[in-house]
């Protein structure tokens, strides 16, 4: 009983858990994709924040450059411009171009210093193509400005698609001049070109007459300052332990990187994000170690799944344990009750045997004439016999439970035993209006257990006595064939309904109908009878009959060599 119970409880716990785990795994797999996507979005948003940081810095630079160009506009003396360039660390050179596209400063026809020479060298294409003259600030822009209210300004934002498409064209902002005394700016913005080692940025402003004043950001200094703005690799500064963010230039070589992770050579970044204009050829790249990424993605998911499973598992174990305790208590109580009944039955057996014995002795001693007393005595005898059967049944049942049921076969004649049993029942049956018609065909000496036979047949006749009162004839027939004996007991009572025929052999099962109501019974008679029959190498079956119930008992009765009583 115990191991089976254990397995059942294990199943109660494990089956739903396994099912849940399987479903959870599938869910987690789907979820992982979503989380991976979200994670990549997160990385990208971090890169976007860095881009914003750099752009904010560039805006500051833009203001600074605007101030520088304003100052140049207010004093275009060569020496003043040179002094300004000497002082301003963020620019490498400045220029002034007249409306016809001629450079006023640096003046190619005059004496140039090294700085100016180098600047003209690297920006030659600009002056040759006069590209700065064709900046998208045409006259119509100016007229547009005039059409607007003074407070309003036309500004093409960084995200303007048109501008973004034309990579080399600067973003222009046409705005109403803020300071009438200084440069009346008809356009300003970044101009970028590639020379030597990479991108060069130039900030320009155009006045109403078409002169362009500009300053070139010192490329190296710009990089250095951007590096200054960016985080370093101090522990605890990056969100993920094993990650590296690199800033790469247009050639893809690293300008700066931070993070405590060394990606393998030529590793492709998990996420890349190009900087905004005017540094759109630079890219931010997020490298993160596979392990770290998996850990981050799985962190939430598996934890949720496992905690869910653990909670359900715990609940199930608790439930199972509760049921186990309940059922085992019931079983224990039942066992105690059965034990109690057994003991009581056992205790009853000895006094009952004495009562029967003395009643039978008294019966023999009484004269035939003493009718009344004899009748009373008969009642005592039959009732005590009934009680013995009951006790025998209970004890048999108990022994069956403990597997202590044993068969003791002795040589004898079935019919003799049958006759004895029938004789014992005669008086009571007669009183209930049942007559026994015994057809004995088993007169051979065989080996069998007469006590068991008596118990089985007694149970059957007892049932007839109880449930088929006044049904008339009870047919009992015996027959022998080979080593087995067949006994048929058929009554003329109400019989057993079809639907319940299968259940009558189950322990404690009692037919519930008008017939059984009000009749006491233990519900174990047929069960024990069948068990005993099986133990005796045979069977007890309910066979079909037109009327009433018909039981057929088959017993294994090998032929005995010795004649009984011989």
């Amino acid at each position: 009983m115990k191991p089976r119970l254990f397995i059942i409880f294990l199943l109660i716990v494990l089956m739903p858990l396994a099912l849940l785990a399987w479903m959870g795994r599938r869910m987690v797999r789907d979820e992982r994709e979503i989380v991976r996507h979200q994670f990549e979005n997160l990385l990208e948003s971090q890169l976007r924040d860095i881009d914003t940081l750099i752009m904010k810095f560039l805006q500051e630079r833009e203001r600074h450059l605007q101030d520088i160009t304003d100052r140049i506009y207010s004093d275009m003396e060569k020496s003043s411009i040179r002094a300004l360039i000497r002082k301003e660390s963020i620019i490498s050179q400045a220029f002034v171009m007249d409306p016809k596209g001629r450079l006023v400063y640096p003046d190619q026809t005059g004496a140039l210093n090294n700085n100016e020479k180098a600047f003209l060298d690297r920006s030659r294409q600009i002056w040759m193509n006069k590209e700065l003259l064709h900046l998208p600030v045409a006259e119509q822009d100016i007229s547009q400005v005039e059409e607007f209210e003074p407070q309003q300004a036309i500004s093409y934002s960084r995200n303007d698609e048109q501008i973004a498409q034309v990579q080399n064209k600067p973003v222009q902002q046409v705005s109403i001049p803020q300071n009438m005394n200084i440069l009346i700016s008809q356009g300003r913005g970044w101009y970028l070109w590639y020379w030597g080692r990479g991108i060069h940025l130039l900030y320009w402003q155009k006045d109403a007459y078409g002169s362009v004043i500009g300053a070139e950001l010192d490329r190296v200094r710009l990089i250095s300052d951007i590096i200054g703005e960016l985080p370093d690799t101090s522990p605890g500064k990056s969100s993920f332990a094993e990650s590296l963010i690199t800033l790469t230039d247009s050639k893809g070589s690293v300008i700066y990187q931070w993070g405590a992770y060394e990606p393998p050579e030529n590793a492709t970044p998990k996420v890349s994000y190009p900087l905004s204009h005017p540094l759109q050829s630079w890219k931010l790249n997020y490298h993160i170690s596979h392990g770290e990424m998996e850990a981050v993605i799985n962190r939430g998911l598996w934890f949720n799944l496992f905690s869910g499973l653990a909670a359900v598992g715990l609940a199930l174990v608790g439930l199972a344990f509760y049921f186990y305790r309940e059922s085992s208590r019931e079983i224990r109580q039942a066992t105690q009750r059965v034990n109690f009944v057994n003991q009581v039955s056992h205790e009853l057996k000895t006094p009952l045997t004495n009562i029967r014995m003395y009643a039978e002795l008294l019966e023999n001693e009484l004269d035939e004439e003493q009718g009344r007393g004899r009748n009373h005595l008969d009642v005592i005898v039959t009732e005590s016999q009934r009680l013995s059967r009951l006790i025998a049944n209970v004890l048999t049942f108990a022994r069956k439970k403990k597997s202590q049921l044993t068969i003791r076969k002795t040589p004898g004649v079935i019919d003799d035993t049958m006759q004895m049993i029938i004789d014992g029942f005669q008086p009571t049956l007669k009183a209930k209006g049942i007559t026994i018609c015994f057809d004995g065909n088993a007169a051979g000496s065989v080996l069998f257990d007469p006590d068991i036979l008596a118990q089985i047949v007694g149970n059957l006749i007892n049932n007839v006595e109880k449930y088929a009162t006044g049904s008339g004839e009870l047919k009992i027939a015996t027959g022998q064939e080979g080593g087995s004996t067949k006994i048929t007991i058929a009554d003329q009572g109400p019989g057993i309904p079809e639907g319940q025929q299968g259940k009558i052999f189950q322990p404690f099962y009692r037919l519930s109908n008008k017939l059984t109501d009000g009749i006491a019974g233990t519900g174990i008679g047929l069960t024990i009878s069948r068990e005993l029959a099986k133990k005796h190498g045979g069977d007890l079956r309910l066979i079909h009959a037109d009327k009433g119930a018909c039981f057929q008992l088959v017993l294994d009765t090998p032929t005995s060599e010795n004649k009984p009583g011989g």
Partner: protein
Amino acid sequence: MFRLSAVIKGIILTVLLAGLSGVSSLGAEEVKLHAGMASPVMLAGKKQNAYLKVSLTGQIRAGRQRSPVNIAIVLDKSGSMSGEKIEKAKEAAIVALRSLDANDIISVITYDSTVQVLVPATKVSDKEVLISAINRISAGGNTALFGGVSKGAQEVRKFLQKNRVNRIILISDGLANVGPSTPAELGGLGSSLIKEGISVTTIGLGLDYNEDLMTTLAVKSDGNHAFVEHAGDLARIFDYEFGDVLSVIAQAVEVRITCNEGIRPVRVLGREAEIDGREVVVILNQIYGEQEKYVLLEVEVPPVADGGSMEIASVDIYYAGMTSKKTKGGHRRGHLHQKVSATFSNSAESAAASMDKDVMLAVIESIANETNELALDLRDTGKTQEAQQCLNDNVLYLKTWEKLMNSPKLRILIEYNRQHSENLDPEKWKQTRKGMRNLQNWVKSQQSYNSQNDEDNDDNDDDKQQEGQAK
């Protein structure tokens, strides 16, 4: 045997004496100006080129309080630094740190593949915390030199004040390989930083560092450069460097030479300069105490008749005095002025006799230095023969002048040039090249210390040299 330390000691004394005995200086200032021609008497009746020297010397007065410093120590902790180098570098940084006080600001930046701001710019109040931070440094990884210097600059900028000595000290043994890494780019960074008054001193360790990278950065930002072959010498070099830093007298020094009518400035020797018409502007980031810094200008002088005299140029010096009292503007702007003139004579003897030895020496050094640079370029392009010839010519040139001047410094230059010419073969070139760059930079920067440990001069007595330098 050639003893470098003794000679250097000699030179420094000579330079000091020369500075102190300056002929005409205006005002009892902390910076002494001395401007003069190589030969104040020139040959008459002929168009000629002449040299003008503007010499500035910081004066350390008794009871002077040194100016507070703002230093970023940028330490290479890439894999190649592991072992003795990183340990010595840490020791040196800690020794340097101990010489600072609570008015000073320090930051410590380390870099390998990435950059760590180990100690953000902070007042040197709790030295033990800083020391323990430095002690935790361990080596490994690549070399993001540019990023390291950039972050260093960022830290220095946090406390960028005119009355502080703002400086980045870079210690590296390697090549830059993350971020911008060409000498031109590093030089560009140096040029930009000097505009803000930040100098970068570069200390190259071992034999593998890129000397062009390190020297260009130092030269362009008017910082010092030293080459330390043995990690053990690092502490000493660091000591010199700190000695310099702590003795800064003036910063943001603008030397403006305005040539008179008819005089054409040709070029400035060994320094970055801006020549605009008759005006020449040279920026020096700082003047150290008791050290001479000078500007050499070559000018074209028109023919002048015998007995005539001519004003050649007027020299104006603008600087931020470090020790002078602060005015409302925060720091005081110092100004020095001097006129330089020459007389003309038909007598070659009187012209020769008038020669200013000190100025002439500087001119010869500079010219010899340019020849040395040319030789290096030739050797770089594989023209070993020509390079050797070039160096041999240089030795001859220097020897000729050495006979006339009897200068110990010229003797050093002769010895170095001779050694360089003998060590141009491939297996020795790496070290020779560093030696040449180091020598060139030493002459150019007019810096007080030179760390060169020549193979042949390994018997240098460190203590003696230190004594000499400390003077």
